[in-house]
Structures are given as C-alpha cells and as structure tokens.
C-alpha cells in the first residue's frame, strides 16, 4: 500500500510539475494557436494531478487532499522525474521535453488501463484520451520542426541531446516499482521501454533527428532528490498556501 501511494505520487507529481512548466508559457508562445494548445495541455495535466493525488491521499488515509499534497510538501517529498522540472528553454525545447514525456505517458497509461486496481484503471482510461492528443500534437510538431529549416533542425537536435539523459529515469525500477508491478497495479518500468523506443525512433526518423548515443541516466527525482530548479517552482506554486495557512480559496 505504501508502494501504491508512492506510485500515485509519482504519477501526480509528474503531471503537476510538467503542468506548471507548460503553464509558464501562457501568453508568451510563438503563435496564438500554441498559446491555446499549451494552456489546454497544462489544464489536462492539472486535472490529472487532481485525480492521482486525490487517490494517493485517499489511500494514504491521513486526510491529505490533493491540494494538501500539492501545496504542503517540500521538494524532498516530491516524486516526479527530473525531466519534467527542467527549465523550459526555447519553445522547441519545451516541445521536445513534452514529446519525450508524452511518449512515455501514453504507453504507461495504456498499460494502466489494465491495472488490477480499478481506481487506477479508471483514471488511466480518462487520462489516456487527453494524452493521446498531447502525443499526437507534440510528435507532429517535433517532426515539422526537426524537418523544417536548418535552424529549427539544429535547435531540435540540441534540445534532444539536452533532454535525452533525463529520459532514462522513466524506465528505472526501485523496490516500490517492483512491488506495484508484482501486484499488477502498474507495469514494470522497463517493460515500457520497447513501446517508447518504437514511438520515439519513428518520430525522430521522420523529424530527421539523430537519436543520441549517450547512455548516461540522470536520476533521483523518484526518490526525492531533485535538481535545483524544483525549489524555485515550489516557492512560487506554494506561496499563497504557505503564507496564509488554513485559508479557503
């Protein structure tokens, strides 16, 4: 059960922090259609966060709501992968990070629809419709920008290299992952690798981008050891809840 809570926190923290990063673009993107699409993506991710963290709090049984979990934990208690907290960089970098995450998110949710825990399966069934669209969109843009101008190609290749060493963490299992996998609640992380590789390789090829050869894997987020960026994200995100404890909004 502790492992299940841990798993749910990881799912919810991933969507929360990525949603935060994406929402930072609000009003600053290169075209109006992207402003709309990004706000929509962030909105979906925040909605999923409410479900995952809500269930985590419920199962934990300490009367913590999704808001309590989002707003009253400090960085070391967050369980998101490092990839989602990385700074936005240029718009291409934001899209590349999104694509690499969406591709994982989609295979993950696909598997979770068959979770032995019906509550998990239900959330996954709801979320996957949104995420299928996220993936379609981010893959399409990665292809168009990779195979666009010389400059856009260069930017996308650089973004790919920058984010690459942060993708491995999505597939590394710890005891908690093993426990939920054995309980049939969630797939073993490395079982998603083949599906992810297939999507990523296909899209990168269409995008005329070169898959990086580096195999180094940055990790730590899943056990609460983050990058220096997360603290700043939380300082903003949590300000009101921290400054006015107990208030109703």
């Amino acid at each position: 059960q502790a492992a299940l809570v841990e798993f749910l926190l990881r799912m919810g923290d991933n969507t929360l922090i990525l949603g935060h990063r994406v929402s930072e673009w609000c009003g600053h993107s290169p075209v109006l259609e992207e402003d709309i699409a990004l706000a929509n993506t962030a909105l979906d991710l925040i909605g999923q966060t409410q479900l995952w963290l809500g269930l985590a709090g419920e199962i934990e049984g300490q009367e913590r709501t999704a808001d309590n979990l989002a707003y009253l934990r400090d960085a070391a208690q967050f369980r998101n992968v490092l990839l989602v907290e990385r700074p936005n960089g240029d718009f291409g970098n934001t899209l590349m990070r999104q694509f690499l995450f969406d591709a994982w998110h989609h295979v993950m949710l696909t598997a979770l629809q068959r979770s032995s825990d019906p509550r998990v399966a239900e959330i996954a069934a709801k979320a996957i419709k949104e995420v299928a669209y996220h993936l379609e969109r981010s893959a399409d843009l990665v292809i168009r920008l990779g195979d666009g101008t010389e400059e856009s190609h260069k930017r996308m290749q650089a973004s790919l290299e920058d984010n690459w060493s942060y993708t491995g963490e999505l597939f590394v299992a710890d005891d908690s992952d093993v426990a939920v996998a054995e309980a049939g609640i969630a797939p073993a992380p490395d079982s998603l690798r083949a599906g992810w590789d297939a999507v990523v390789n296909d899209v990168l090829e269409q995008a005329t981008l070169k898959r990086p050869e580096g195999t180094y894997v940055h990790q730590g987020g899943k056990r609460g050891i983050h990058t220096e960026h997360l603290g700043y994200i939380l300082a903003d995100m949590q300000f009101l809840q921290r400054a006015y404890p107990g208030a109703t909004w």
């Binding site: 290169p30 409410q50 006015y244």
Partner: protein, 316 residues
Amino acid sequence: MTPEERAFQERVDRGEKIEPKEWMPEGYRKTLIRQIGQHAHSEIVGQLPEGNWITRAPTLERKAILLAKVQDEAGHGLYLYCAAETLGVSRDELLEKLHSGKMKYSSIFNYPTLNWADIGAVGWLVDGAAIMNQVPLQRTSYGPYSRAMIRICKEESFHQRQGYDIMMKMAQGTPEQKAMAQDALNRFWYPSLMMFGPSDKDSVHSAQSMAWKIKINTNDELRQKFVDQTVPQADYLGLTIPDPNLAWNEEKGCYDFSEPDWSEFYDVLAGNGPCNKERLGARVKAWDDGAWFRDALSAHAEKAEARRRSAIPAAE
C-alpha cells in the same frame, strides 16, 4: 451620401447583417478593422495579467479554472482575428501594428495583478465591463463580428461568475483575504469605469459608429449600467467601492458616482501605465523569439507540398 451608401445605411437600419463579400463604405470597413483588431489584441494581451498568477494559483481547482479561462481568451482572440480577416486584413498585419504601437489594446491590461483577489476582480469587474460593452455588439451590423460576439459573450459571462466567486471566497475569508479583496476593488474600480471610454461628449467617432451599428450604446449609458449592476454586488460582498460620492439617486433611479481621473486614462494611453512597457514588450519578445518556429512550420509545409507533388507522376 451616394446611392450605394444610402442603400447600405438602409440595410443597416432594417437590421440586416452585412456579410464579408458585400459592398460596404470604406470608413465602415476601417472602423470595424480598428475596433475588432483592438478587441482581438486585448484578448491576447489580456492573457498576461492573468497568466501572472497561474503558477501561483492557491489550489489545483483554481489553477485549472484560470488555465481554462486564459485558454478561452486566446480562443476569443482567434475568432476575432478571423472576423477581422473577412475584412481583408491578415492577422500578421494586425499583429505588426500592435507590436509597432500603431494599434492599441484595452488599457485595463496595463494595470498589474498584485494579489490573488486581483484575479477575482479582473473576472468580476473587467470581464463584467467587457460584457457590458459586448452584449449589445451581438446585434452589431457586421455578420462575422456579431456571430463572434455571441460566442464570446457566452464564455465571458461564465468567466465573470468565476471571478465573482473568487471575490466571494476572499471577502468571506480571513481578515487578510478580505483586505486583499478590498485592495483589489480599490485598484480596479476606476480603471474598470475607464474601460467604457471617455464621456460621449468627448468621443470623436461615436455618432457615425452608432449610425452604422458598430457601436450600439453610448459610453456613458454603458458606464451607468455597469455601476448600477456592480454596486449591489459589492454590497453583497461586504466590500466598499472607493468612491465617497457614490449614492443612490432616487429621482434618476440610478447611482451617482465620481468620474474616473481621465488624466490617468490619457497617461496610460500615452504609454505611462504601470505595465505598458512590460505587456507590449512581452508580446514583442514572444513574437520575435518565435520567428524561427513560424519559419520552420512554413518551410516544412513547403517541403511536404513539394514531396507530395513529386510523388504524383506528371500527367503527360
């Protein structure tokens, strides 16, 4: 008036809608482009003061609502640019004019959002004033504009309710929250009154625009209506409107209220509002930084088109 102009005016007077390909006076077209373009720009720039609080929204629910709202606003921008395009001006041309300062956006967005209650006040007062302006425009004479307004008004009134709901929570909350709510009202009250524009007697284009049904009510009518609607709402919240002269006028059946400080209005219009440079600067930066992105999409589209063509064997 030429016979064409007379016929046009008669159609307008009969309440017929004018559609894109139909003849229209050049002044009508120009005024509409300016008005729709400014409205579109306002939706876009209007994302910024609200976006300022998305990362700091106090609950996940509030964050989601705010994201949805900002998304709607970008959507409104899109409809309105499309409506303007039916008049023969492209979105890029309009944006170029925004970025170079030749076209304006609503001055209200040059005020900062300084506490969370401001997000409530923007919904309640700013969207409230906008709706007051826009509801009559659903009956405007230009078809595409009228249809855009119908769609927009529906969403805006939803936003206004959400804003009022934030104000309610704040006004009924802790003393600190109530103070924020009052502070927000203090700062947004007069700027909201300014949103209706200067008094009609000082307004240049009003008469012609009203004849063309591009403008339906006078600025002062709408401002009065807004005050009459808003005062009881503020009372209900237990907040004080920052106007010592505000009083119910039994005789006229409406509220007396103080005029906003029009010199401030003209200052902001002249570029000296608290956030003019930041707002326009943010939009110009977004546009400039995104040039490579837009170029790449065009380049890709051309490549794809070329590939498609070369894949079809030439019909000899």
